[in-house]
């Protein structure tokens, strides 16, 4: 049976928990306590279900081979057996015991993850899901950014977990970084929260996991886990006011006199829209369009001219600018460091 293949893959992924050998979003390569707790539980559940599978599969296979009608059959009906209470009792009690074991193991992990206490050094983040991008606000640190979440690495001896409050500005979304934690939905009018304490620096990927509209597929998640120094430096940069200098460049004038400002904020200018990502420090980000494209001058230009070329169905309208205007606007955006 080909179905056995699936079990091998589950087992193969499970052998290398520290390295995301098969995929950067492998749930069997946890790097944060909630994901590790789930991983431990999942190995137990897989072991139990795999054992049941082997036993029952063997019984059915044996039965089918052993009791097939033979070529030399005498044509008489086999003995009729109507049931047996002892046998029924046995295969009721054994599953009950298995279920109780699975239930107890599960309840432990639910409590570990959902009832974790919040240490003093915890970082607070508010994540707000939008069609089709992520807004991140650090209320204590007075930082607002979009699509790329930065958190400090958490040393198990001095944990600095990040607690993320999950809100939605429009439809349902779901926050899922498989290597850091299970997913939790962002639902309007229904605040949720999760926590992560990544123990290795690096970039962790994920994406929206609750269907939220046309561009659900390109609502990608990027979490940058940084050393404490790098994180503090990043926070310091993000708290700086926006790019200063000659305020009246042509690009800035175009930005401030078109619909751009209805949706985007650039701190220190008249632009204070909230529907789209904050662009104050746009150039500090690696990607644009919620991770759908790299943040290069060429991609910025394509994005401004026709967002549908990168994300068809994106809510950002094409601004119908001419080439010179797009050049000026792109040049202005490239100053937002």
């Amino acid at each position: 049976m080909l179905s056995v293949v699936f079990w091998f893959v589950a087992a193969a992924s499970a052998t290398g928990p520290a390295t995301p050998a098969l995929s950067p979003t492998n749930i069997f390569a946890p790097a944060s306590t909630p994901a590790k707790s789930i991983f431990g539980l999942s190995l137990f559940v897989i072991a139990v279900t795999a054992s049941i599978f082997v036993v029952v599969f063997s019984l059915v296979a044996y039965c089918v081979v052993k009791f097939r009608k033979r070529a030399n059959d005498d044509g008489r009906e086999p003995p009729q057996v109507y049931g047996s209470n002892q046998v029924e009792l046995a295969w009721t009690v054994i599953p009950v015991l298995i279920v109780v074991a699975l239930f107890m193991a599960t309840v432990r992990v639910i409590a570990d993850v959902q009832k974790a206490s919040r240490p003093d050094g915890a970082i607070e983040v508010v994540a707000i899901g939008h069609q089709f991008w992520w807004e991140y606000r650090y209320p204590g640190l007075k930082v607002v950014t979009a699509n790329e979440l930065h958190v400090p690495v958490s040393d198990p001896s001095h944990p600095t977990p990040t607690f993320i409050q999950l809100l939605s500005a429009d439809t349902d979304h779901s926050f899922w970084i498989p290597r850091l934690a299970g997913k939790t939905d962002l639902i309007p009018n229904h605040p949720n929260s999760i926590w992560i304490d990544p123990q290795q620096t690096g970039l962790y990927l994920g994406q929206c996991a609750q269907y939220c509209g046309t561009q659900h597929a390109k609502m990608l998640l990027r979490v940058y886990v940084q050393s404490r120094e790098d994180f503090d430096r990043w926070i310091e940069e993000q708290r700086q006011p926006g790019a200063v200098g000659d305020a009246a460049t042509q690009g800035q004038r175009i930005f401030e006199t078109t619909a751009c400002i209805n949706c985007h904020t650039i701190a220190g200018t008249v632009a204070n829209g909230r529907f789209g990502p904050d662009l104050t420090h746009l150039m500090s980000r690696d990607t644009i369009a919620a991770g759908a494209a790299l943040n290069t001058a060429k991609n910025l230009r394509i994005w401004i001219q026709n967002p549908n070329a990168i994300k068809p169905g994106s809510l950002m309208p094409a601004m119908e600018l001419n080439d010179a205007e797009v050049d000026a606007l792109t040049a202005y955006l490239e100053t937002l460091r």
Binding site: L22, S23, I27, S42, V45, R68, K69, Y82, Q210, P312
Partner: protein, 557 residues
């Protein structure tokens, strides 16, 4: 058999005007004809839903594919899910119940023949309404031309803010209309089973199929009603200024989820319990043994029916319920594994010590056992809430429920088609083609749905129209898509077999399987009145008693 004139148009001769025959089918209140109408209607939609699935899979064959636009992709998965659940599997289940229940309990028709016809036509027009959205949904907005909110249509995506035009209205009304049809049929099935059994057939002597359909009908009434209520609330929100699910005015998106899944989870059992029923008829006959542990099977089914009403929120482990609520739903979800396991063991014990005959229906039944086992075990993984936080809404879930709906339910239905085809048509199907259908479809099924688990474990969410390269998902998706073409080929063989056998097959006789339940005691196809004299039974296997007067069942039950 010349007197069996009304049940089947062929026996009346093909010379009668087509319009007359059509008129008879459209106005019929005969349970057998309505059963056939349900099934034919469902098969047409099976092909439509299959084409939608194929479009989905071609789009996902490689990363950044642009076979269809995101808008079209989103409509495809919405229509695929809605079609397959409401207009394929439910009509198939109702069709078989309609055809078989009166015959198996020795009745001449359903309790309410005209309600029966009314229910069928409601369901039929519900399906047409859904597909009429392709024409009518644009409204004055030039908006999308088919529903694109997903088959469980979470609020507030369905509000007029996020869903302009009429596509969501067509989805809502289609389910509302067909929902009334489902409730009508369920009332009919329950009444028939409770009131129309032949003399001697106490509840404890009914064939298991009747028992299981009784539980199914009860679940339909309990499950479809909240869905219907929710659809009415959604219409009120969209057109009468209601705020049930309008989160911007203080409404609750989570309430919709509860309404939907309090329908949605029992619905799974509405579909799978009739599949259990088919297996419980096929396995004994092809093992040549009585069903092992009949009273326990009945008890397990009733238990599943009750417990299935209290597990719905395991679809909602990721919406941020309290730890206590999560714990409760973990418990109820895992508890349902026990009666389900009992069923598998009883089928196994029925085969044990028998003389198993590998005809096509039995091949499908054996595949059902293996696949339902796997579906149940992945279900336990999903029932463990923390594991679910990783697996929910990933391709692992998609693979899991297709294992249930295709691997278990559809396989059982295919088995049922071959098992009862001789009874319904009077012709024997082609065993060779049946085996081809089985093996080709089996290979396709496993290529698609075994490998579909893997991208889910590797972090691939469902309902994405495309994905990034470098995530380790590419190869798995390629294999999954290849499997689809095997499945399509299998279904073509199946349809060809049905048509070929109907026109060219050998006469089947009234009892080709040497079976034991009452439908095999009348002619194939049965006359309009089913039985010239209403039978009297003394045991669960009345035909066994007739065939083995020296060793009848009623001595042991």
């Amino acid at each position: 058999m010349a007197t069996d004139s009304i049940a089947w148009p062929r026996s009346e001769g093909l010379s009668r005007p087509f319009v007359d025959q059509l008129h008879e089918w459209v106005t019929t209140v005969d349970h057998k004809r309505l059963g056939i109408l349900y099934v034919v209607y469902a098969l047409i939609f099976l092909v439509v839903g299959g084409i939608e699935a194929t479009i989905i899979r071609i789009q996902l064959i490689r990363p950044h594919n642009d076979f269809v636009s995101p808008q079209v992709f989103n409509r495809m998965f919405t229509m695929h899910g809605t079609t397959m659940i409401f207009f394929v599997v439910m009509p198939l289940v109702f069709g078989f119940a309609n055809y078989l229940v009166p015959l198996m309990i020795g009745a001449r028709d359903m309790a309410f023949p005209r309600l029966n016809a009314f229910s069928f036509w409601l369901t039929a027009f519900g399906g047409l309404l859904l597909y009429f959205s392709l024409v009518g949904a644009n409204g004055l907005y030039g908006a999308g031309n088919a529903p694109d909110v997903g088959w469980f249509a979470y609020a507030p995506l369905t509000s007029r803010t996020f869903s302009v035009g009429h596509s969501t209205d067509f989805w809502t009304l289609a389910l509302l209309v067909s929902g009334f049809g489902s409730i009508g049929t369920a009332i009919n099935i329950m009444t028939t089973i409770l009131c129309m059994r032949c003399p001697g057939m106490s509840l404890g002597k009914m064939p298991l199929l009747a028992w299981l359909n009784l539980v199914m009908a009860g679940l339909v009434i309990l499950a479809v009603s909240p869905l219907t209520a929710a659809q009415v609330m959604l219409v009120i929100d969209r057109y009468l200024g209601g705020h049930f699910f309008d989160t911007q005015a203080g409404g609750s998106a989570v309430i919709w989820m509860h309404f939907f899944w309090v329908f949605g989870h029992p619905e799974v059992y509405v579909l799978v319990i009739p599949a259990f029923a088919f297996i419980s008829e096929i396995v004994p006959v092809f093992s040549r043994k009585a069903m092992f542990g009949y009273p326990i099977m009945v008890a397990a089914t009733v238990a599943i029916g009750f417990v299935s009403m209290s597990v719905w929120a395991h679809h909602m482990f990721t919406v941020g319920m309290s730890a206590n609520a999560n714990t409760f739903f973990v418990f109820s979800t895992m508890a349902i594994a026990v009666p389900t396991g009992i069923k598998i063991f009883n089928w196994l014990a029925t085969m044990w010590g028998g003389k198993i005959l590998f005809k096509t229906p039995m091949l499908f039944a054996i595949a059902f056992l293996f696949q339902f086992l796997i579906a149940g075990l992945t279900g336990i993984m999903l029932g463990s809430a923390p594991f679910n936080w990783q697996l929910s809404n990933s391709y692992f879930v998609v693979a899991h429920f297709h294992y249930v709906i295709v691997g278990a339910i559809l396989f059982a239905i295919f088995g049922a088609f071959y098992y009862w085809f001789p009874k319904v048509s009077g012709k024997m199907y082609s065993e060779t083609l049946g085996r081809w259908h089985f093996w080709v479809f089996l290979i396709g099924f496993h290529l698609t749905f075994d490998f579909m688990h893997v991208p889910g474990l590797l972090g691939m969410p469902r309902r994405i129209y495309t994905y990034e390269p470098g995530r380790g998902w590419d190869t798995w998706n390629l294999i999954v898509t290849i499997g689809v073409f095997f499945q399509a080929a299998g279904v073509l063989v199946f349809v060809y077999n049905l048509l070929w056998s109907y026109f060219r097959g050998d006469a089947a006789g009234s009892d080709p399987w040497d079976a034991w339940t009452l439908e095999w005691s009348t002619s194939s196809p049965p006359p309009a009145y089913n039985f010239s004299t209403i039978p009297t039974v003394r045991s669960r296997r009345p035909l066994w008693d007739l065939k083995h007067p020296e060793d009848p069942d009623w001595k042991y039950e």
